[in-house]
Symmetry: C2
Subunit: 245 residues, 2 copies
Amino acid sequence: MSTEEAEEADTENAATENHEFDPLKTEIMRATYRALITQGYSDLTMQGIADEFAKSKSLLYYHYDGKADLLAEFLEFALHRFETEIAVEEDDPAEQLRTLVDRLVPEELEEDSYHVQIALLELRSEAPHEDLFRDQYTAVDERITAVISGILRRGVETGTFTDIDPETEAELLVSLLIGARTRRLTTYEEFDVRETRRALETYLDRLPSTEDGTTVGGAEPARDGMTIDEAGSTEDDDGPERPDH
Amino acid sequence: MSTEEAEEADTENAATENHEFDPLKTEIMRATYRALITQGYSDLTMQGIADEFAKSKSLLYYHYDGKADLLAEFLEFALHRFETEIAVEEDDPAEQLRTLVDRLVPEELEEDSYHVQIALLELRSEAPHEDLFRDQYTAVDERITAVISGILRRGVETGTFTDIDPETEAELLVSLLIGARTRRLTTYEEFDVRETRRALETYLDRLPSTEDGTTVGGAEPARDGMTIDEAGSTEDDDGPERPDH
């Protein structure tokens, strides 16, 4: 990679668009996304992915050694899409955190997101047995932590936050978000998303801030985090139920 | 159940000791525990559990419809053991919370606990597809939340904590703990348990308290949470690696 290219890749959007994913691989990743929605992780096969893929199945095997290899790249793909998702535009660090939390634990969870998130959770629970996944999830957790600690660090620099250790705080927030998302997926109807969102607000409110006591801005309309919107949904998805929640 | 029995079952230890688990079922649960350690969740079969069980395999089928049914009861068994684990003796609510956090995210994780926790995470990730597991995990999360909000409520009553909503705070803490445990299991070597424990301390320190600024007591020696000590370990466990962390 030339210095120029490296610089370009350094800007967040460019990184997401360019990173290793040529059009063919992007097509494969989208087929994987659709296959995960319709078939779930446990039942997923290379054939199942091929069924969602317009081109020849042999192309899948040409590029990937097998399901684990392909899914590891899918995690990387998802991570990059995710980084676009959470590249919040706001300037104000406190507001940026609020938007991030709102995107990761939205009030309503769309059905497609729900299915992909379940598949991702299953992949995560496979991580102890599968090095490829573990490496990817380590990268995922590190990236999210870096994004959050970056926001917090900027908040300390600009004087929005006082007396916090950005790294420690980021660690806390990442566990909190992953825990909330995991609970939501696994207890579903019983999960009180409003109470959890209130709890997350409480946490943010309690971050030592120069504007203590004031809530910095309201949350914007809910969006689903960790989705891959561009991948599109399947035409007629009458797969497993459990819609918005 | 007579009123007397109901009252007795109401005290925490009694509930754990008596709850539905007669000696035979306890033996089956211990066999399941050992099978989960040696075989993991994905490869687990009724035969695998039978192999760890001194009595006849037909007894397993007499008591359980199949693997899912047996594992659902195992989750209930684990929950009750877990409640004994977290029945902290301290009187002081702040100290009680610290001990609880310390037990759930101990500095070192013993190998057996690690394997059982991985199996439990896999079961959790199956919850979206398996009603029996979802019901149990809902109960698990509700129970932990109730224990924590109970401690917090007592803290408010005794004046240890001020200006907190025990329910909201418990919600936050449960997500935080589940998230930290999940990340630890799935990224393993890369997971910085010390930083996470510092983060948890920070959270506890920041709970509005009448003794603001002071750390209430030190953490006691680390123990593994969510273990089933009495189940004992297998004699020669040279199964999957990944020891203390």
